[in-house]
Symmetry: C2
Subunit: 470 residues, 2 copies
Amino acid sequence: MAKAPVLTPQADDFPRWYQDLINKAELADNGPVRGTMVIRPYGYGLWERMQQGMDARIKQAGAQNAYFPLFIPQSYLTREAEHVEGFAPELAVVTHAGGKELEEPVVVRPTSETIINEYFSKWVQSYRDLPLLINQWANVVRWEMRPRLFLRTSEFLWQEGHTAHATQEDARDYAARIHREVYEGFMTDVLAMDVVPGRKTAKERFAGAINTLTLEGMMGDGKALQLGTSHELGQNFAKAFHTQYLSADGEQEYVWQTSWGSTTRMIGALVMMHGDDNGLRVPPRLAHVQVVVLAIKGDDEVVAKVREVGERLKAVGLRVVVDDRTDTPFGRRAIDWELKGVPARVEIGPRDLEAGTAMLARRIPGGKEPVALDALAELLPKLLEEDQAQLLRESHERRVSRTVDVATVGEAAEAAATGWARIPWADLGVAGEAKLAEQGVTVRCLVGEDGGVPDADDAPGALAIVARAY
Amino acid sequence: MAKAPVLTPQADDFPRWYQDLINKAELADNGPVRGTMVIRPYGYGLWERMQQGMDARIKQAGAQNAYFPLFIPQSYLTREAEHVEGFAPELAVVTHAGGKELEEPVVVRPTSETIINEYFSKWVQSYRDLPLLINQWANVVRWEMRPRLFLRTSEFLWQEGHTAHATQEDARDYAARIHREVYEGFMTDVLAMDVVPGRKTAKERFAGAINTLTLEGMMGDGKALQLGTSHELGQNFAKAFHTQYLSADGEQEYVWQTSWGSTTRMIGALVMMHGDDNGLRVPPRLAHVQVVVLAIKGDDEVVAKVREVGERLKAVGLRVVVDDRTDTPFGRRAIDWELKGVPARVEIGPRDLEAGTAMLARRIPGGKEPVALDALAELLPKLLEEDQAQLLRESHERRVSRTVDVATVGEAAEAAATGWARIPWADLGVAGEAKLAEQGVTVRCLVGEDGGVPDADDAPGALAIVARAY
């Protein structure tokens, strides 16, 4: 008799599988206010590792962290016309504070371009102050009608970078640098996610930007998810907030700007890209728990041994948890660690002690085999790097095998039912994009024939990646 | 002719000196919404170092990080009567979101006991789930009528710990452990701040707590500042939110709880405790910039040398900035680093190159002397540890010399004009405390004769520390 599956199988109902996994792996809960989210310790541990890895790359790119207020005067939002039009429907508004009605309502930041420009205007005086490269880690609020944990939440956590440059070229280069070195680099090297770098069409651009660069990932069900965007803002906000500098030639000039963000949505992507019917599979370079050493029974010698092995594995730099909670049945604990996607489980029981071995269960390739206890410290780091590579390879193969080249809008819509379609932008165009939108299909990004990012929507040879998206 | 001072001297106007310093050292700016604050990169760098140091201690104490929503249903606040009474006047309320009026207004969290208890009630089932030790790094909002940067801001950044325990004793011990190992330990060892651990009187307790432990620091003007509190919540929130567990005996029991927080206010304390008329003095163990290596002139050889010296100092683990911005006059840059309180300045000009020396300016003891370039890497770490010790010693000596033992309410009020008074709580009592309050003087905390923390307000020998406070 087959055991009832712990999760709804992906093939039966992918959205339900996702919800089950988030819940049973203890990643997050729904908050009491519609669309908000409680990130539980295991889920937050993933976010902390993402923060550390991204923060190091952001600093490497020369940006410094700062913190701007949560509350923005409503009037700021209205200064950049496209920006307010884009965000107005999603705003949360504080009308009362300190026991009184406010004279001017304040909005809870949906993003911080406006308030940051107010300060850039004060801080930037001359060309010597440029480039000004700022990042902040913060929560933002965008009221969400169809919330889904990690993917679309009314409040989410993110980093948002904001920079000012003397020339358009410098701003463009910096947005491209963040797109490639910070976002694509981190997602590929650490998250083991195959992502496609591209350019958004005018329809999909950030409200207030002149160009948006994106990274798009294919999820386990063939849909797309946008992961990290970098915007060239041109001089739109500079003009709205009078952010000017004195050039070397003694002229007052408007700065050229960028902004760029990545969010807790990356946790949702991790689940939907690497998860399987048994739960999450966490890439070892990201994992805050790379190895769990489990005592099968509450025998004193076994407990002493799992602790000793745990210490030895920590000593070689692995991130290890020792699970000696033997008042909970072993089987339940093993399933729990499998759900949580810990890459390696080292299981030790009384019989293993005699043999000087442990059972090593590997979450990513799957399977179990006995391994000599003395060999673990040398073996595990190598196996974890293999696992890391396997996840990236799997996600790449999925994307390649489920992307088809098509020639018509009809074919593109059909392909988007199960995967992605690629179609020359010259053939699709704004009209084709509008037709696809009627069927819930969007142009995720434009890419060059050579895999590069086109300089403009009408760059020769630009291809549109077309898909359904989260 | 004496130069105009960069800052208003402390002795002339301490609050003005504080504002000048925050502004000129580029720590923070006022936000556009009343009471909010922009934390600039140099100030935020201090906060990042505080976060890292505190976070490691919090994890060492067994707590895990998580994240709870910014928005709390208004009804949650009202479930614990003292709690809502304490916070109601400071709440910011969102009444509109997503383009509509909300059915139930939501408050922006002033602290998270209520929403966290809602989830603890779900997560805690049996005694095996206890203790549950959670921390979060977050922003909170308490509407502020008399804002002052870092000390009282309508939005501030903090960590808030929330724990649930099976017994009152376990909760009490944990609150005491956080108070001593995390807060006092960090403030003493890293911030070089002399702080007094004590117990709040009933009047000064956190709204909803049965006991509040505090750390009080004496600022440069003799006033007190509360720095980090740990609360025993008893079963107040557990009863309001039905947070129960099944005991080993099979009984449903309410959990016993703690909460504890420390905030960006620590940056204000750093300024007011260690600052002088030339600016901030950052304790070397905290400093994100411990050493700045300055090129006096834009000579190629000099610039090459400062970079080389910078690399050598980084190689021994120092946190170093190389300042080769020689298009800005050297004197202005030197004053700027002095304002920012960087502990060591290594100044190199053309004449130093020949002699193989640099001028070493030490911010904490003051003074400048030539040092052989080759000696710096070995010398600086030792000098920085001396500087760290000096700051702690100075703050200790100030507190001791400006604290007087008194016997009457009148004497206590008089002493509080310039420093702290210590008076037996048995002599002062609730009535004396009320009289002092009329004169703007508060009981900062109760301490034991032996320097320990009294178990109860009426513990024999308890002394009240009485002061004016920020």
